[in-house]
């Protein structure tokens, strides 16, 4: 590490460096160190970086062209290459390893409101029937929502309810617990805990019953949810 390098002692405090620093005040870093600096800059930059920009960023007196040659050689044959893009430089994955990046292309899309609400109801109330889900959400449940959650492997059919019509119930799966980092569905925080953690919309303070807010006095349902 360069920290031990006696020529390198004054580099650290970044803010103190100024492009207008009088040149020659600091010794020019050794070429290996220049290479290190370029490596870091190219890695962290969102865009390819031009020679001019590199020269500006590195301490006065650095030989950017020379350091780039060293860096390019160092990465020859590696999983990542130093490549020239127009008159700028960038680090790029080796072309022969592009196939490794394929999973990177998964488009992450947030679950629809209907889906997340349905999932939440199943998690908190399982086993729960379709009719109960609809009752809680106040709208009918589209086929696609259940299909999607099933396909994702987050819900599955539970036992039939022993009531007239013997309706199917839904429960959450082990994959669901894995994904959300839960040991059991019982680890889901209750309403009161959410409120205390500030995670509920602040639609008024509890106790302000006469104002037109949605804050019911602590509802009894929650505690019953997880009793067997």
């Amino acid at each position: 590490m360069t920290e031990n390098d006696p020529t390198e002692t004054q580099v650290t405090p970044a803010e103190k460096r100024d492009p207008n620093d009088t040149p020659g005040l600091f010794p020019v870093p050794p070429i290996a160190e220049q290479e290190r600096m370029i490596e870091a800059v190219l890695f962290a930059s969102a865009e390819p970086v031009t020679m001019a920009e590199l020269t500006k960023r590195l301490p006065e007196g650095c030989d950017v062209a020379e350091a780039l040659v060293h860096l390019r050689n160092r990465y020859a044959g590696r999983g990542v290459h130093l490549v020239r893009v127009g008159d700028a430089w960038a680090m790029r994955t080796a072309a022969d390893l592009g196939w490794l990046m394929r999973t990177e292309q998964v488009e992450q899309r947030k679950l629809s409101r209907a889906a997340i609400e349905t999932l939440a109801i199943i998690a908190y109330h399982q086993p729960v029937t379709r009719a109960e889900i609809e009752e809680i959400r106040g709208v009918s449940l589209s086929r696609g929502t259940i299909d999607l959650l099933m396909e994702m492997g987050w819900i599955r059919f539970g036992r039939r309810r022993m009531t007239p019509g013997r309706p199917l119930t839904f429960v959450v799966t082990g994959d669901f617990l894995d994904h959300f980092g839960l040991e059991t569905p019982r680890d889901l925080p209750g309403l009161k805990e959410l409120r205390e953690a500030g995670l509920l919309d602040s639609r008024g303070m509890p106790g302000a019953t006469l104002s037109d807010d949605d804050d019911e006095p602590e509802d009894p349902g929650q505690t019953e949810l997880f009793e067997d």
Binding site: A40, F43, A44, S45, A46, E47, A90, R92, T93, G98, M101, R102, E104, Q105, V106, E107, Q108, R109, K110, L111, R113, A115, I116, E117, L119, A120, I121, A123, Y124, H125, A131, E132, E135, I136, R137, G138, L148, M152, F180, G181, L188, P189, L191, L194, R195, L199, L200, D201, R203, T209, L210, D212, D214, D215, E216, P217, D219, G221, Q222, L225
Partner: protein
Amino acid sequence: MTDAAPQTGDAIAARLDDEALIVDVDGYEGPLDLLLTLSRRQKVDLRKISVLQLAEQYLRFVEAARALRIELAADYLVMAAWLAFLKSRLLLPPDPTEEGPSAEDLAAHLAFQLERLEAMREASGRLMGRDRLGREFFARGAPETHAIEKRTQHTATLLELVQAYARLRTRDDFRPYAFDRTDIYPLETALERLRGMIGEAVNWSDLAGFLPPGWRLAGSRRRSALASTFAASLELAKQGRLDIQQSETFAPIRVRVRQDGRRDDRTQDPS
């Protein structure tokens, strides 16, 4: 200050310090924080701190605040009361008939709390002083994602999940597994709600104020809820739980809990 006794330079300095503390009281995060600041004056290791001396300093602080008519938050006063108690316990010979922890145990625990708070404070300073992502070290600026294979993956976080649930549950007065018809507010529900809330209506209150959230806007929902709530108020009046008043035709109906009407719910519920 009224203290006319000659004071040493130290005492004056201490007093000035106290006043500085008081002026700054908003800058303290509670009594423990203040105690920690005071304890630094003893210039000893927190493990060797004199809790008695600390209690005296704190009490002097509270007294000085009082003299300056600065209102201290309740927790500061609770701490003062506890420290006064601790001080007396520390000064008096132990009472063998007294149960519970000894004064020394309590004092030791306070010292532990202060030491722990200070340790956490130092730790947070060290933590924030570390090299940090986006400040001293950086992630790849241009992560590579060639668009070759597109597959939609739906995601959700636990936070989104629980917030979705909370949204549902706070949206309306939902009760699980009850099959209501929409826009009908049943009498039973109104009765239950009113019974729960009437105790707070010591003064005359507009009946409309007892409508459940989500049922208050004009329309069929409000009509249904108003009718049920009114019927419920009649029922409770019949049970002697509340009084009803209406000053003239179409004036707001007002209700109030009947002061002598507190009887056991179970004995009077006719159903």
